[in-house]
Symmetry: C3
């Protein structure tokens, strides 16, 4: 955020999206993150496109490329969490949706990552800004690109 | 979450609900939890059906059965919080709504429970998954069954 | 919250607002708070009316009066956060919207204030109840009055 930051961000005059679209995306995220948190890594992977790119700058050396890589990663994650007896929740909110010229959606949201070990205390440990490109595939939204920025990891 | 967990959860192909219904349920929860947090135990109890069942496996030995029991419990709760000078907030989000064949709704949401003692620090102490059965009574939604699962209390 | 608290709060029978209005206000807040969190104090100030009043009883000796005062305050805030290398997030939810007779909206929401210093831990440090009066100016919502109550600061 340098002194050359414009005083008005790009797209701030974009119209709001209709209620049907907005609530579809809200429901998409509630179900998508529920699949991960409930331990369904395969169904979770199916919410990404075949060629999806999953970036998490401060956590992954390289982006995950493709649904198979996302599935493998989330299966391994599930085993780790079960071994450590951890309940994990991903909470998204403050959703902003911008339709793009190609029919895809840019969805920005805030996310909190939290975990509770069995018998332990709730630990809300990360605030993350999530930028998704959502595309419609056979009538259902899928994530084609996900880009996660962890607060505290340095300016983007 | 055993190895026999299916790779796809039941109901993952259910259509999303229309915006009017989704935002009605969002508003229902904002007002319902607001009644509890603002110290209106009687009005809170009236958001449950006469024969509502309120389960909280890790906190209650027995479910609360009926609106009268819910009212008594929340009146006692209010006195405790006032004596301890605690502001309490229940924050629900990540809402997923599934209409049932009998006209009721299954609503799942994530909930955070948090408290602040007068002059003290914010303490967000529990992540909970809330499963409600909502029924329409004279045009208004009421909770007929609430089942709360606290993270960290063991697999359901 | 004395013994004279009525058992039912004012307005609890108000109808829910239509989905289009509810999701417009959700989107308004996602973008508005995003402007502040992303470091656009001027665009943030433009989401308030020229004569807006910004109250924060437990943090401000005097309300901020007018868009210019809000802009100055948020510019100073941005400099402080940059100097301290802090990512700040304002998360609003549990939104309740009540249309008023004069065409304005009373919007109540819960808010969490959180910060992460570069390389540091997430600190969710305040739970706040936000009461806004929103007015429509040339087709866009603006905040005419904002009244913030921090939990733990004493009964209102």
């Amino acid at each position: 955020m340098s002194d050359s930051t414009p005083s008005t961000p790009r797209g701030s005059a974009d119209p709001f999206v209709p209620a049907e679209l907005y609530t579809q995306v809200q429901q998409f995220y509630a179900r998508q993150m529920g699949l991960l948190d409930d331990g369904f890594p395969d169904a979770w992977a199916d919410t990404f496109t075949e060629d999806a790119v999953f970036q998490e700058a401060s956590r992954l050396d390289e982006p995950l490329r493709g649904r198979d890589a996302i599935r493998d990663s989330s299966r391994a994650r599930k085993k780790r969490l079960e071994a450590e007896e951890i309940d994990f929740r991903h909470w998204l909110g403050m959703l902003d949706v911008r339709p793009q010229a190609d029919g895809s959606l840019h969805a920005r949201s805030y996310a909190l990552a939290m975990r509770t070990r069995r018998g332990g205390e709730l630990d809300i440990f990360a605030s993350v800004v999530c930028h998704d490109r959502l595309v419609s595939v056979e009538g259902a939204w899928q994530v084609a690109e996900r880009d996660l920025h962890h607060d505290g990891s340095g300016r983007d």
